[in-house]
């Protein structure tokens, strides 16, 4: 049954996200071509305002892909499970967890593809665009390419290798938190759609606050240990090259684990609410 649910869910869901991805890809290719063809600014010009504006608009546009996918998935889940269509979905002979699993798998795939598209377009286009926005000599361009590896203390390939599973877990947890918020919104007597939005904002605020609370002592500890290790370092640069990567590694792995816990909690919450508190209008 789960397979069938996923198949039907994919068949009914893919069109709009694929259209969004196609627009994102066309936008990226156009921007890449534009910045590639732009001449490098004269050293006397500090910033090329036109190119900078285009780059900022592009960055907002491409970042909006993930937001649009999340909005689409939320509307689809609400419409499919809690409006008239819910009469069909909730009378299918399948358990609530199967509905949630099918919608999470489908939604996560689409959300993940959106994140991958953002990563693999925004990152290279930034490197093509920056030397065209402000004058950079070849040494500075080389330095620019080394920024990420310097910050994370890993090569770009290793960073991408870690980011790919991280983004998958992050997509799953963000989709499940969205679904949990919609299920929570149904507990209200009136304005259930609006209540779901409020629950979503509330849950995200709560998650951000808890993350900050849990991260802070850990990060402080890492900073102190790293600072002790580098107490004899000759320069501030050496100090930062030790502290910053450690801090980011810790944040990364804690965030990875937190996303798994969050996804599991949201899944069980959705399942409980659908099983025990369903009251379809």
């Amino acid at each position: 049954m789960l397979k069938k649910l996923i198949r039907h869910e994919l068949a009914e869901t893919w069109k709009i996200p694929v259209l969004i991805f196609a627009v994102g890809t066309i936008l990226s290719l156009t921007c890449a071509l534009y910045f590639y063809l732009q001449p490098q600014p004269d050293p006397s010009i500090e910033v090329n305002l036109g190119s900078m504006t285009i780059y900022i608009l592009y960055a907002f546009g491409i970042a909006a892909i993930s937001l649009l996918i999340i909005i689409y998935l939320g509307v689809r889940f609400y419409k499919n499970m809690y409006t008239d269509e819910g009469y069909l979905m909730h009378t299918l002979p399948v358990r609530p967890w199967m509905h949630i699993a099918a919608k999470t798998i489908t939604g996560s795939i689409l959300s993940y593809l959106g994140s991958i598209l953002t990563l693999f377009t925004l990152y290279p286009i930034t490197f093509i665009a920056l030397p065209k926005i402000a004058y950079m000599d070849p040494a500075e361009i080389e330095e620019l390419l080394q920024i990420l590896p310097a910050i994370f203390g890993e090569s770009t390939a290793v960073i991408i290798f870690y980011l790919i599973p991280y983004m998958l877990v992050s997509s799953i947890s963000s989709v499940l938190v969205l679904y949990a918020a919609i299920c929570l919104g149904q507990l209200f007597g009136k304005h259930k759609g609006f209540s779901s939005i409020v629950c979503y904002l509330g849950l995200n605020a709560l998650i951000s606050s808890l993350s900050a609370l849990f991260m802070l002592p850990g990060l402080a500890g890492v900073t102190i240990v790293s600072a002790e290790q580098s107490a004899n370092s000759a320069t501030a640069d050496e100090f930062l090259s030790l502290v910053l990567p450690s801090m980011l590694h810790t944040t990364f792995f804690m965030s990875f684990l937190a996303n798994i816990v969050l996804a599991a909690a949201a899944f069980f919450l959705c399942n409980y609410l659908m099983k025990k508190c369903l009251n379809l209008d």
């Binding site: 069938k4 039907h8 068949a11 008239d84 009469y87 009378t91 299918l92 508190c277």
Partner: protein, 237 residues
């Protein structure tokens, strides 16, 4: 019908449902036997749809228990109950043929050939998009899907309200022709005179209480009236 029986298809005990302070159903006790067509009759707001939704697991009861073939509403009951809600529940952006494959995939008791034959009788093309169909035609499609299952219990909430009289006759004929003797049909409607001829039993629901469970024959014999006339008398404003 009101007496508990081991052969009951549906057994409802002390069922209550509250929406906030509003008591929609209050301590309902009911047995639905096999092989009957039963009319669930009552005025607007009497609790008919609430009872139906509870039987389909779309609402959680405040108190009491519903057992369908010995199971509380869940996967097992959904596999043997064919439900037609009073609203259009079909997604607009799919074709009728997609809906056929949907029902084939999820309901083991769905008979696709029967559905195709009924679609053809009502001149509905399987390749048409649901959004291109009129409200009445969509309701016919829904009813075809529901009646094409070989279910143990058909629960039809206002099945003929939105269709023209000609289609109404076809639907009623379909209901009588297609249900088997082991199955029962629970049918809620305001159009009593239209369905009276096919009913075996009736349940009168008023303000969340069952006020009468009787066979149609009993009402005719005892009161010398049709169910429609008797209903108008009981529920007169």
């Amino acid at each position: 019908m009101s007496e508990a029986s081991a052969s009951s298809l549906v057994s409802i005990r002390g069922l209550s449902k509250k929406y906030g302070k509003h008591q929609a159903l209050d301590n309902i006790n009911l047995e639905i036997p096999r092989g009957k067509i039963i009319g669930l009759l009552g005025t607007n707001g009497s609790g008919k749809t609430t009872l139906i939704k509870l039987m389909n697991g779309l609402l959680v009861p405040s108190k009491g228990q519903i057992l369908i073939k010995g199971n509380a509403p869940g996967v097992e009951t959904k596999a043997c109950v064919s439900y037609l809600p009073e609203r259009s529940y079909l997604p607009d952006n799919i074709r009728v043929s997609h809906l056929l494959s949907y029902f084939t995939d999820f309901y083991e008791d769905f008979d696709e050939n029967k559905a195709l034959s009924m679609l053809s009788s009502l001149q509905i093309a399987p390749d048409s998009f649901l959004k291109s169909l009129s409200k009445g035609t969509k309701e016919k499609v829904q009813l075809i899907m529901v009646m094409s299952r070989r279910a143990s219990l058909y629960i039809l909430d206002e099945p003929i309200a939105g269709v023209d009289p000609a289609a109404r006759d076809y639907i009623l004929k379909t209901i009588i022709r297609d249900y088997n003797e082991e199955a029962s049909i629970l049918l809620s409607t305001h159009l009593i005179s239209d369905i009276e001829t096919i009913l075996d039993d009736v349940i009168f629901l008023k303000d969340g209480h069952i006020t009468l469970t009787s066979s149609v024959e009993d009402i005719r014999n005892r009161y010398g009236k049709s169910v429609d006339s008797y209903f108008r008398e009981v529920f007169a404003c």
